[in-house]
Subunit: 247 residues, 2 copies
DNA sequence: ATCACCTGTTAGCCAAGACTAACAAAACCA
DNA sequence: TGGTTTTGTTAGTCTTGGCTAACAGGTGAT
């Protein structure tokens, strides 16, 4: 048995798979592990040898595999992170179950102890504290339902077009050349939202309007050293804080 | 130029590094990339060749490296995820800046479009909506400050030991053998909290008390097929919903 | 009893991505 | 101009973690 410095994600995944298999099917065999991880059985054998060398599993050729106490602890650590992330994605962010699973599965290997600690505090908060539960409801009603305007939150000024400007949010399409503005919100869904977010238009970012095409059909922005071109529709979906006015 | 199926995390990191370098230092050289990524220069050259083959960077031997428009988009996508995650970890979960950076850096490669979409909605919510801002305040005051009891939230019943039981939360140490209970909250900090969370005691989990040592100094639990042993102190820190009573 | 089948192992291959050591090209001085 | 230093590239090695193909060991059916 050799001392571990840091388990690779692949080995953590194997360990987790074994954990789930013994939990549900009582025993873990090479075949099952291969199926669960979508790899060939021939790839499993050497991984088992490595895990056995690390003292995390008991593995004798052609026999059932199971976890040592240390392997159990290690696997449990990973599974806990997986659970915490999955719950956050499903219950708080409300992303589709399958995507939530996928994201959690990939991220579970790199969440720090501190991240885990605080993430779980957050989950505890929205589950246990009436304030937390209420505010989560507001988030879901107000923000996730934006594409169903009639369902959207009455309290939140960002959801009400008339009140938006009072709260210092105007579409980027209304901004003059040369002004620097602060992105507040992306009022778009689906592919267009993805495009704008991927382009770096996150709330809190500062952008400068560099050029506006005649007819305001195209907007060239500068953002931290790079230029970015938006269509009129895109610019209308980017809500920003209006530039300061010197009174 | 070859078509990309899916960029590896390593290549995404190189791309991101180049992006940040041209943004701040105007140019990216092999030396700088190697330093930024803590690898040897000899590892950078082949990575640059791969990125150039994918049409993401412009790279001529011994010349400055820069991003093609496509590379810029690709890098920006990764950087946006990095930013969104960092902000969430820093401003919402309030984990230390350095840890936040580290976690974001590792997770940025595996956040789905949907996860990104909803994560940013959440950030928009707590930044723009008065309700959201309040949510965050309550969370920070009530939950993160738990170890300073005088600062803890007055509204939240979980923070007030007297009221906790009314809200169906009692320490696991008070539970009888044989009972199945639901974990509500881990009332511990630091290493003990980490240990309990890593052991899978997350809010929402169901555990059964299998055995209690004389003097209630040790508690053996069963959780989804595995046994788990807690000390008395640990059991006192696990707040659970009391078992149903048949009236 | 033997043949076929299922499962697991071995051997040998490959690609990614790191490393060192040695070499080549530029740049920097004197 | 020529030597030194810095910077980049090449060649060769290693580990991880996949793959296929071939083989081995058990189980079961005829």
């Amino acid at each position: 048995m050799i001392e571990a410095e840091r388990l690779s994600s692949a080995l953590e995944d194997y360990l987790e798979t074994i954990y789930e298999l013994v939990r549900h099917q009582k025993v873990a065999r090479v075949r099952d592990i291969a199926r669960a991880r979508s790899v060939r059985a021939a790839s499993v054998t050497p991984a088992m040898r490595r895990l056995a060398d690390l003292g995390l599993i008991r593995y004798e050729k052609r026999e059932y595999i199971d976890l040592t106490p240390q392997g159990q602890r290690e696997a449990q650590r990973v599974v806990s992170r997986h659970q915490a992330l999955t719950r956050f994605f499903k219950n708080v962010l409300k992303i589709p179950v399958k995507t939530a699973e996928g994201d959690a599965c990939a991220m579970e290997h790199s969440l720090s102890a501190e991240g885990m600690d605080h993430l779980v505090r957050f989950i505890e908060f929205v589950h246990n504290c009436p304030e937390g539960a209420r505010l989560l409801d507001v988030f879901h009603a107000c923000v996730l339902a934006q594409h169903q305007p009639e369902a959207s939150c009455q309290r939140c000024p960002m959801g009400q077009p008339g009140k938006a400007e009072e709260h210092r949010a105007v579409p980027l399409s209304a901004i003059d050349v040369g002004a620097q503005v602060l992105v507040r919100r992306i009022a778009a869904d689906g592919a267009m939202r993805d495009r704008l977010l991927d382009a770096g238009l996150l709330p809190g970012e500062i952008v400068e309007v560099v050029r506006v095409a005649p007819g305001r059909v195209r907007f060239d922005l500068r953002r931290g050293g790079f230029e970015l071109r938006l269509t009129g529709d895109e610019a209308r979906a980017v809500l920003v804080a209006p530039p300061e006015r010197n009174p």
